[in-house]
Structures are given as structure tokens and as C-alpha cells.
């Protein structure tokens, strides 16, 4: 079984509204894809994505696996800039190791 990966540019993500962005990601993940976002999602967006995911959990879709680097502080340490976020279906993706600058995940076809 093949697993598709979508690498989405920061420009593409920034061109979407908040709801549109989350819908786009979740639709991709529910289709079985692994979505990698350049620029990443903020903590608030990730929380909203978890909330949206929970409304759509079913027998066939248990949820998502999400991993990302901690946001970098910029602009006099006030603004938090997310870096990269990886989201995949929990059924096929599992993070095995994670620290500040490394995400190690396994992807296995079901």
C-alpha cells in the first residue's frame, strides 16, 4: 500500500483562513495522507485541529498523530513563530522520538 505525503508551502497555508486551513489538513489526513506544513501551525491552531479531529473520530478514523518543533520566539521574544508541523492518520503514523530539533516517526501501511 502506498502512502502519499503532501508537503505544503508556507505561502499556501498562509493564503487560507483558519477554518479552511484546518479543514484542508484534516481532509488530507482522513484520506490517508501525511501532511507536512512548512511554517507549521501555532499552538492555538493545533488545539483547534485536535478539537475538530475529535468531532470526526469514528471506528475507521481513530484520530491523528501530530508532531512539530516548538515555536521559535521572535520580535523581541514576544511573537512565537511555529516552524514545521507533521500530521498523519494515527492508524499509520507513530512518533517514536522527539526533541527540540528532531522528530522521528514510523509510517506503516495497514
Amino acid at each position: 500500500m502506498e502512502i502519499k505525503m503532501d508537503l505544503i508551502s508556507e505561502d499556501k497555508i498562509n493564503s487560507m483562513g483558519s477554518t479552511e486551513k484546518l479543514r484542508f489538513i484534516l481532509d488530507g489526513v482522513k484520506s490517508g495522507n501525511i501532511v507536512i506544513l512548512e511554517g507549521g501551525l501555532t499552538s492555538e491552531e493545533q488545539m483547534k485541529l485536535i478539537e475538530l479531529t475529535m468531532t470526526e473520530v469514528s471506528d475507521d478514523f481513530p484520530g491523528i498523530e501530530i508532531s512539530g518543533y516548538q515555536a521559535k520566539r521572535s520580535f523581541f521574544n514576544l511573537r512565537r513563530k511555529p516552524r514545521l508541523t507533521v500530521i498523519g492518520p494515527a492508524k499509520v503514523m507513530r512518533t517514536i522520538k522527539k526533541d527540540k530539533d528532531l522528530i522521528s516517526a514510523v509510517v506503516s501501511a495497514v
Binding site: S43, I50, T55, V57, P62
Partner: protein, 242 residues
């Protein structure tokens, strides 16, 4: 728009803190499933309310708490015997951030709080995981459905919370996305928090790993089950959530 909303949240919190803080602060106990949130809530209630009263049931099955439960008006009295008991204040890990030496000021030893025990936050809920604990398929699916609703409820409670005890299992890797997302959200909303490294009574517990992962936050190691080091946690709560 988002920024304005966040500023408004911070401003209203500040105004409330300055002029309208008549009602007890609502302190949410947050964390991933099986970190010991309900055990901690029960320990707090046993210490300050009634030793026979439980806020909820804690078992080894994840997502046992599927509805947020609020206990109103819990009076944290730092001079009560159970807090002063030296056995309960022993911190075996001296390297972890410790604030136990700082004693509360005279007349500031009591604090009334509402304690909110929230369902565990998770990004996935698979009914098969419940079947592994012996539940029938139908019951497991029902529990999974309730657990998803519980996660949503815990997230929604963040809008009404004044402070958070973020519980982590000291035997597990703390650098999970769930922990990072909760901390990021609390920081963005300027909600004061204490990171609590639970299960320090277990041999494999490494609370220092939590302190290293989140160096910007105070980490208090405890065992909610055995009541170890609770005095230090109560003192930090009195300082942080007053």
C-alpha cells in the same frame, strides 16, 4: 483579529484580577490520559475538604474521566496539619526546581479555589485500546465516543480557567505534542500554570527530564497517589494562583 481577541483576554483577566476577584479562581487539572489528574484532584479534596469524598474514579483504563468535574470553594490551608506534616514535604529529587523553602507570608496561608478535574487530552482515541482492558466492543465504542466528547470539553474549559496544574507522568517522555500544545496555549492566553511531575514514587520516574524539557516553567515533583511532596505543590499553588 486574533491578536485583538487575545489582548482582550489578557486585559479582562488583568481587570478581573485587580477589581473583581471576589469569586475563587478556577484551577484546571490538565494533562494527557493516565497522568493521574483525578488521583491528584482526589488527594486535594481528601486533604482540604473531606477525606471520604472523591471527585472521580481513577483506574488504569485511560479516559476514565470523560466529563469535567468542578469542586467549588476548596479552601487550601497551608497551616493545616496535613500540609505541615514533614513526611509529605520530602522532595527526594533535590535537582528539580524546588520552592519548598519559601514559606507563605503570615495571613496569606489560606486560599479558596475551585478545582476542575478535566478529561485527558489526546489526539487519537481508538476503541481497540479499551478492548485491550477487557471491555466488550460495544462498551469500548461507547467509551471512545464519550472520550472524544471529553477532550472537546477539556479544551472548551480553557476559556473559563484562571490557572492550570499541568500534570505529566514522570515515568514517560514529557516531550509529547499534547504537552507542547497545552503549554503553548496556556502561554498564549497568559494563564498561570504549574507543571506537576507525577508518579515520583515509581523507580523509573525522572522528574528532571520534565524540568529539562520545559525549563521556562516551575516543575514540582509529587506522588498524588502516595501524597508525597504535596506541601510543596500547595505552597506553589498559593503563590501562583492567589
Amino acid at each position: 483579529m486574533k491578536l485583538r481577541k487575545r489582548r482582550k483576554g489578557i486585559l479582562s483577566r488583568l481587570l478581573r484580577a485587580l477589581f473583581f476577584r471576589k469569586v475563587p479562581a478556577k484551577i484546571g487539572i490538565y494533562g494527557p490520559p493516565n497522568a493521574g489528574k483525578t488521583t491528584l484532584a482526589n488527594t486535594i479534596i481528601h486533604t482540604f475538604v473531606d477525606e471520604n469524598e472523591d471527585i472521580g474514579v481513577s483506574t488504569e483504563v485511560p479516559h476514565e474521566t470523560r466529563r469535567a468535574v468542578r469542586k467549588e470553594g476548596v479552601l487550601i490551608d497551608l497551616k493545616s496539619k496535613s500540609v505541615q506534616n514533614p513526611y509529605l514535604n520530602v522532595s527526594p529529587d533535590s535537582n528539580v526546581t524546588s520552592t519548598a523553602e519559601q514559606k507563605p507570608r503570615e495571613g496569606k496561608s489560606k486560599l479558596k479555589l475551585d478545582i476542575v478535574d478535566t478529561p485527558g487530552l489526546a489526539t487519537k482515541i481508538d476503541f481497540h485500546d479499551f478492548m485491550a482492558f477487557g471491555l466488550e466492543e460495544k462498551e469500548a465504542k461507547k467509551r471512545a465516543k464519550e472520550a472524544t466528547e471529553g477532550v472537546i470539553e477539556a479544551i472548551k474549559w480553557l476559556d473559563d480557567i484562571d490557572g492550570v496544574l499541568l500534570l505529566m507522568d514522570a515515568t514517560e517522555d514529557p516531550y509529547t505534542q499534547t504537552n507542547i500544545v497545552i503549554i503553548g496555549n496556556l502561554e498564549a492566553r497568559s494563564i498561570p500554570m504549574i507543571v506537576v511531575a507525577n508518579k515520583m514514587d515509581l523507580a523509573e520516574a525522572a522528574p528532571q527530564r520534565i524540568a529539562d524539557a520545559f525549563p521556562q516553567h516551575t516543575v514540582i515533583p509529587i506522588s498524588a497517589l502516595k501524597g508525597e511532596n504535596m506541601g510543596e505543590l500547595y505552597m506553589e499553588m498559593a503563590r501562583r494562583f492567589r
